[in-house]
């Protein structure tokens, strides 16, 4: 499925809304009657990317299915800030069991719906990166392998933020966390570690794998919609900046997510049946410094004793992503910056 960007208006496809488009062509988030799957009053930090990502994804799923969605949630920030007794923020049927079992719980929900003749009700499972790439990985791989009818969404904020910012297998190199201190010759998280879950998901040959960020709502919603058109195991990996864990300003959440994509550090693409079918090319390429320098978790790379050598290694990762996925097309190539 190729995307037809809306060029014909001052904000084109980039802003949330577009008062001149027909209602069907607008984002779910621009609609007053959107579900608000996760409602006001939740206890996420100011500027929480995960709260935003969850609402984006689930509201889109709700529209795509005409409100036939149930959600399963792994333990984590999203779960804790949304459902502290006696208040829940969820406006849709929602089930939380454990940290590492959301994929399997979702399998059970899907199986029950099927056996009950309610296959029109669709299952979305969601977890943070810890619940996805680490503790939930076995269950997730099992769910993928069985091709259960579940859309699994990972809200990736690159660490265990709920427990106080510890390293996960999604923490990027050089990032400081509570368990990868910014000390020693290789400060922060070690290079050469970590898991690339979207690619692992693709290796399962499941029908749909995609990545997205909270900075491109149209892209995210379209991917959720695409995912809901397909039966079987589907995986959506959404980058959600965490002001607390990343040491970024609360108003920078979307900006930073955008820079992650525009620098090439977070490739945005989709794949069907194990093959990449589309990539979101970089529109305004930026050097990784622009992304890194807004985050205190990379503070040790700048400032009084800067580490351009490490920044260069991170740039190399971005360049490698760009080459691997073809993130720069000819038009943007000319705007390429010297790095």
């Amino acid at each position: 499925m190729t995307r037809q960007p809306v060029h014909f208006y001052q904000v084109g496809s980039f802003a949330v809304g577009n008062r001149l488009l027909s209602s069907d062509d607008r984002t779910v988030q621009s609609q007053r009657e959107r579900t608000n799957s996760i409602d006001s009053g939740h206890r996420a930090c100011q500027g929480c990317g995960e709260a935003l990502g969850a609402r984006y994804a689930l509201d889109a799923a709700m529209r795509a299915t005409n409100g036939h969605v149930v959600a399963v949630n792994a333990t984590g920030c999203l779960e804790v800030f949304s459902t502290p007794y006696p208040e829940t923020s969820w406006r849709i049927p929602w089930l939380h069991s454990l940290f590492g079992n959301a994929p399997a719980v979702a399998t059970g929900v899907a199986a029950a719906l099927r056996v009950k003749g309610k296959s029109d009700v669709r299952v979305v499972a969601q977890a943070g990166d810890g619940g996805t790439v680490d503790i939930g990985f076995g269950a997730l791989s099992g769910m993928f392998e069985r091709n259960d009818d579940v859309l699994f969404i990972c809200y990736d904020n690159e660490g265990y933020m709920n427990t106080g910012v510890q390293r996960s297998a999604a923490t990027p190199p050089a990032a400081r966390t509570a368990t990868t201190d910014a000390v020693g010759p290789e400060p922060g998280n070690v290079f050469g570690t970590g898991k690339d879950l979207p690619r692992i998901a693709m290796a399962h040959d499941i029908p749909y794998v995609a990545t997205a960020t909270v900075a491109d709502l149209h892209d995210l919603e379209r991917k959720v919609e695409r995912a809901m058109e397909i039966r079987g195991a589907r995986y959506l990996h959404v980058l959600v900046p965490c002001p607390l864990g990343w040491g970024s300003a609360s108003n920078d959440t979307i900006h930073i997510a955008r820079l992650a994509k525009e620098s090439g550090l977070f490739p945005v693409f989709e794949a069907e049946n194990g093959t990449v079918t589309s990539v979101s090319t970089i529109r305004r390429r930026v050097p990784v410094e622009q992304y890194l320098s807004l985050q205190r978790r990379y503070g040790h790379l700048f400032g009084k004793s800067p580490r351009p050598d490490i920044v260069a290694r991170i740039q190399a990762i971005a360049d490698n992503n760009i080459a691997r996925y073809g993130l720069v097309d000819d038009a943007t190539e000319s705007m390429e910056v010297n790095t």
Partner: protein, 421 residues
């Protein structure tokens, strides 16, 4: 219909009669024959309206059951031993969420050393998980308990674990009366969940509950277990009216009238104990037996009443709390706390060691002679233990005890042969 059938097969067929809607399976001995048979029935279409899901671990098996149950499906799984421990987090979770899952536990020891044979260590490890735990004495009872378990679980919204001795029951072929569908249907109404993921009535299940309400949540769970104590005899009674069989209930007594000594035990060993007791009775020893069918919730009142007139209570257990002693013994002692009697704990059958009638009779004779130690390990090879202890004292790097004991046994068995040569 009464059939000569393997225990596992009888369970599978009975579970199928209970119309489970989602069955998740991860193989572990000695549970395999059960899920294999259920799976075959689903695949062949004999068990319709059921999803059979081969999962990647026991943790996933229980998790799938949680998801299915929370979505209003009747969910079933089976496990044993390490499998139970691997899913234990989800086992606690299922009860915490009040999901009426039924699970067969084919009781087996827990390693290391790895051991696939029967004892009750696994069930005891999950003792405080908030599940109702029922123990079967025979395959007939195991089959019957599953039918009762679904009804009990769903009436109370509490998960139920049916414990049956691994291999000893699961792999034994004996006569079992398999109910017909009509009877099961009349006994077990369709599952009406107390809470369900429903797009027409959305709720959030699994909230985070802080100190302000957690104790109340736990106390409510306790009250529900106490409710179960009330309901279980009634369900057993209904079952008896349906089938004519005594199955389930809280406890089962045998020859306790006038008994001075009463043996308390769980599971299939009760049969061997009864044979031993019959023999001792013939010798004039006044011994009776109490079998605990409902272990959790613990039927303290019923136990207290059954043991009230005993001079000595011998609790025979296939598990124990290392560094302390009996687990069931503790429960029995708590039930009898202000009563005057002697309590003896006999640990037996660990890791599949055969509990023979002969050893039991010797033990009972000692009990009758008031010569039984407070904590006795039946058929313990004291010599092997002493030799290993000596090795450990003399050599710092003495190696693993399990392997040492095997070597010890091999050399003592081989020794006479060498002399012969």
């Amino acid at each position: 219909m009464l059939r000569q059938i393997e225990g596992s097969r009888a369970i599978a067929e009975t579970v199928a009669l209970c119309r489970p809607e989602v069955v998740c399976a991860y193989p572990i001995s000695p549970q395999t024959h059960i899920i294999e048979a259920v799976g075959a029935m689903v695949k062949s279409g004999k068990l319709a309206g059921c999803e059979f899901i081969n999962v990647e671990s026991e943790f996933a098996a229980m998790s799938v059951a949680i998801g299915a149950s929370a979505t209003g499906a009747r969910a079933y799984t089976a496990t044993a031993s390490q499998g139970l421990l691997f899913m234990l987090e989800a086992v606690f979770n299922a009860s915490g969420l009040g999901l009426p899952i039924v699970m067969t536990l084919a009781n087996r020891a827990i390693g290391a050393p790895i051991n696939i044979w029967n004892d009750h260590s696994d069930a005891m490890a999950a003792r405080d998980a908030g599940w109702i735990q029922l123990f079967a004495e025979t395959n007939q009872e195991a089959a019957d308990l599953h039918v009762q378990a679904f009804r009990l679980a769903e009436e109370l919204s509490v998960p139920v674990m049916v414990c049956m001795d691994g291999f000893i029951l699961t792999h034994a072929v004996e006569g079992v009366d398999i109910l017909d569908q009509e009877s099961v249907d009349s006994f077990l109404p369709p599952y009406e969940p107390r809470q369900v993921l429903d797009i027409d009535e959305p709720v959030s299940i699994g909230a985070m509950v802080g100190p302000e309400a957690f104790e109340e949540v736990r106390y409510l769970a306790h009250l529900r277990q106490l409710d179960a104590l009330e309901r279980i005899p009634g369900i057993a009674q209904d079952f008896k009216e349906l089938t004519g069989r005594d199955s389930g209930g809280l406890i089962r007594t045998y020859r306790i009238d006038g008994a001075e000594i009463i043996v308390v035990a769980l599971g299939s060993v009760l049969g061997t104990i009864k044979d031993a007791v019959d023999n001792r009775r013939e010798l004039g020893e006044r011994i009776g037996v109490v079998g605990i069918t409902t272990f959790r919730p613990f039927p303290s009142e019923a136990v207290r009443e059954a043991l009230a007139d005993a001079r000595q209570v011998v609790v025979l257990e296939k598990s124990f709390s290392t560094g302390f002693g009996g687990v069931l013994s503790t429960d029995v002692a708590m039930s009898m706390r202000d009563m005057d009697f002697d309590l003896r704990t006999v640990i037996a059958g660990l890791g599949g060691r055969a509990i023979t009638r002969r050893s039991l009779e010797e033990m009972l004779k000692q009990a009758n002679d008031d010569a039984l130690e407070p904590l006795t390990f039946l058929d313990l090879d004291q010599g092997a233990v002493e030799r290993e202890r000596a090795r450990m004292r003399s050599v710092r790097r003495s190696g693993p005890s399990a392997e040492n004991l095997l070597r010890d046994r091999a050399s003592s068995a081989a020794a006479p042969t060498r002399r012969d040569v």
